[in-house]
């Protein structure tokens, strides 16, 4: 049981890193990207082929190096960034909203089928395997899993601090300004494409990093282990936790991965219908998305509003304050809005024009 929880928490930590990356692209920059799972998968594949050594026939794949695990992750992230820079340059140049999404969706499926069918790349349908115990150095099996969980948790914490710092920086503010109104942003001197592009590459890099961790977690990786559509689970996590808020995204990832994906494993499936459990899980995630969008569209911890500090809004309070609406609720604040009189106080009218 303890090992089971170790595995779940490891997985949740890894996917929280991926979610943070996707949230930068969607939550901050407003681009509903559907190809992030390809960056994640590429991170996994690259980390594998950089560490597991030469391929032995009939297995075949590129490179086949024996790099140390951490160095392999770093190289994998660089490869992912290079790859994302091509897709990003095409998709972000002039496409927005649904056109951007469709383009990235097309890209991820093209990659998926290419990887599946072009065997010399990553051994096609059968995938690559053999990355076990990359940091254990002969540790016992159980102990290694705890160490790896700690490693993933520490990495997640580091990534969270980095992303949180960026989120509250002038850079994060500018990315959101570009998201909210591109024309206005360019009127105030912001390079719209450059801003979105940089954010996209940063998010893709985090996806690649998550992939590097996942490679060691799963040990073997083939097209059976990933589907481009799985990204919607991550979008569910972001929606639940709070789009645009790193704290919320991490929380949402744990809620969705631990609470929904893993807990629903306990839903009993009749022996005759073993597929019922997984199907039910998908349905529950769908229901979760709908419920969140209906009752708390900005998530459990909504995006942080940059204030001058006088109101001392702490997003944590919204977790527990059920009666007070999150600051995103337009309705709630319409009621509190000052009337026209407070905006333009009555004063002697200026001389009438001609």
């Amino acid at each position: 049981m303890l090992q089971y929880w170790t595995a779940i928490l490891t997985e949740a930590s890894i996917f929280a890193i991926l979610a943070l990356g996707i949230d930068m692209i969607w939550g901050w920059a407003g681009d509903f990207d559907l190809s992030a799972y390809a960056y994640f998968a590429l991170g996994v594949y690259m980390t594998m082929v950089l560490t597991i050594g030469k391929a032995k026939s009939p297995v075949e794949y590129v490179l086949g190096w024996h790099l140390p695990y951490l160095l392999a992750i770093a190289v994998a992230v660089v490869v992912v960034i290079a790859f994302a820079s091509i897709i990003g340059a095409i998709a972000l140049r002039s496409l927005r909203e649904v056109y951007f999404s469709i383009t990235t969706f097309g890209a991820v499926w093209a990659i998926y089928y290419f990887v599946e069918n072009y065997t010399p790349l990553f051994n096609g349908y059968n995938g690559v395997y053999g990355l076990f115990d990359p940091m254990g150095y002969g540790m016992s099996y159980a102990a290694y899993h705890y160490v790896f969980l700690a490693f993933c948790a520490v990495t997640l914490f580091g990534v969270y601090l980095l992303v949180q710092r960026l989120s509250r920086s002038p850079f994060g503010r500018m990315v959101r300004a570009v998201r909210d109104d591109e024309k206005a942003a360019s009127v105030y001197g912001r390079n719209v494409f450059g801003t979105k592009y940089r954010t996209y590459l940063f998010g893709a890099a985090l996806a690649g990093l998550a992939g590097g961790l996942f490679a060691a977690y799963i040990g073997a990786f083939s097209p059976l282990d990933w589907k481009p559509t799985e990204i919607f689970v991550l979008y569910a996590a972001i929606l639940v936790g709070g789009r645009g808020n790193p704290k919320g995204v991490v929380l949402g990832s744990f809620i969705v991965y631990v609470g929904f994906v893993e807990m629903t494993r306990y839903i009993p499936s009749p022996a005759a219908r073993p597929e019922l459990g997984p199907a039910l899980r998908q349905i529950l995630i769908g229901v979760l998305i709908i419920v969140m969008l209906r009752f708390r569209p900005s998530g459990i911890i909504p995006e942080r509003l940059g204030t001058d500090g006088t109101e001392g809004r702490r997003s944590w309070r919204y977790l527990f304050a059920r009666s007070s609406a999150p600051p995103t609720s337009v309705l709630a604040w319409h009621e509190a809005r000052p009337s026209m009189e407070t905006v333009v106080p009555a004063e002697p009218r200026p001389e009438a024009g001609t």
């Binding site: 920086s169 002038p170 503010r173 204030t307 407070t342 905006v343 333009v344 004063e347 200026p350």
Partner: protein, 257 residues
């Protein structure tokens, strides 16, 4: 009154699929003036603004801002040269707080570099805190004090207009082009906007105002440029244009009858 030429538009022409929007249009805006750009609907006023600010590219002609050719440059590049324009509807950054809207106007680009934001976060925070006084003075001036920590999307139409001015004042451009700043605005707020325009000039910005409200133009502007059918038909002080037959025919005629 008239300083050196700041914006020189020379014979620009722009057609949109056979429709001539701007035709051989030339004008010069001098530094330190407030210029009204008027003309009937479809005269090409907004097209000229789009061409000058880089959102459209003319078929021919040249535009020099501060003696530098701007045709072919991206809007953000032109903006960094010191030109800020508005649109007919206010374009606030909806999910940013009101105060952050103004801070983005104030902030400089190099402060927003990804690496600086990561590496010297504390220094940047101190830098921004040092500007708090200036920002809150702007908040007070444009009557946004009470809503400064709210999302900009919830502002009333009038408040959004004022926010636009607060943002411009924070950015301190050399040239401001306002596209119908009085659209949907009541007379009292209109006077406040007139004051905001004069304040912009006091702060050192040259201002071009596109507006249909002629009394407002007369009160606010030093000089008026009249456009019709995509070209400039007259330029001069408002009083002189009253007697210009072409202007009366094209535009003011409706007013005098």
């Amino acid at each position: 009154m008239s300083g050196a030429p700041l914006l020189e538009i020379d014979a620009i022409t722009k057609t949109f699929g056979g429709v001539v929007a701007v035709k051989d249009c030339s004008m010069t805006i001098r530094e330190g003036t407030v210029v009204g750009l008027i003309g009937p609907n479809g005269a090409g006023k907004s097209s000229v603004i789009d061409l000058v600010s880089g959102f459209e590219r003319p078929d021919s002609g040249s535009v020099r801002f501060n003696s530098v050719e701007v045709i072919g440059k991206r809007p953000d590049v032109i903006s960094r040269m010191g030109l800020i324009r508005t649109f007919q509807t206010p374009r606030e950054w909806r999910d940013l707080s009101v105060i952050d809207n103004v801070r983005v106007g104030k902030s400089e680009l190099r402060r927003e570099s990804l690496w600086r934001s990561l590496a010297s976060a504390r220094r940047l925070r101190h830098l921004e805190e040092g500007e708090n006084e200036e920002i809150s003075a702007l908040m007070t001036k444009y009557r946004l004090d009470e809503v400064r920590n709210h999302r900009a999307v919830g502002l009333s139409g009038g408040q959004k207009r004022l926010l636009e001015f607060a943002r411009i004042a924070a950015a301190k451009p050399r040239l401001t082009i306002l596209d119908e700043p009085m659209g949907g605005v009541n007379p009292v707020l209109g006077e406040r906007i007139g004051q905001a325009i004069r304040d912009l000039r006091t702060a050192g910005s040259t201002v071009v105002v596109v507006e249909h409200n002629l009394p407002f133009i007369e009160r606010t502007c030093d000089e008026v440029v009249v456009m019709d059918l995509g070209t400039v038909i007259a330029q001069g002080p408002f009083d002189q244009l009253r007697d210009n037959k072409r202007v009366v025919d094209a535009y003011l005629g409706n007013d005098d009858e």
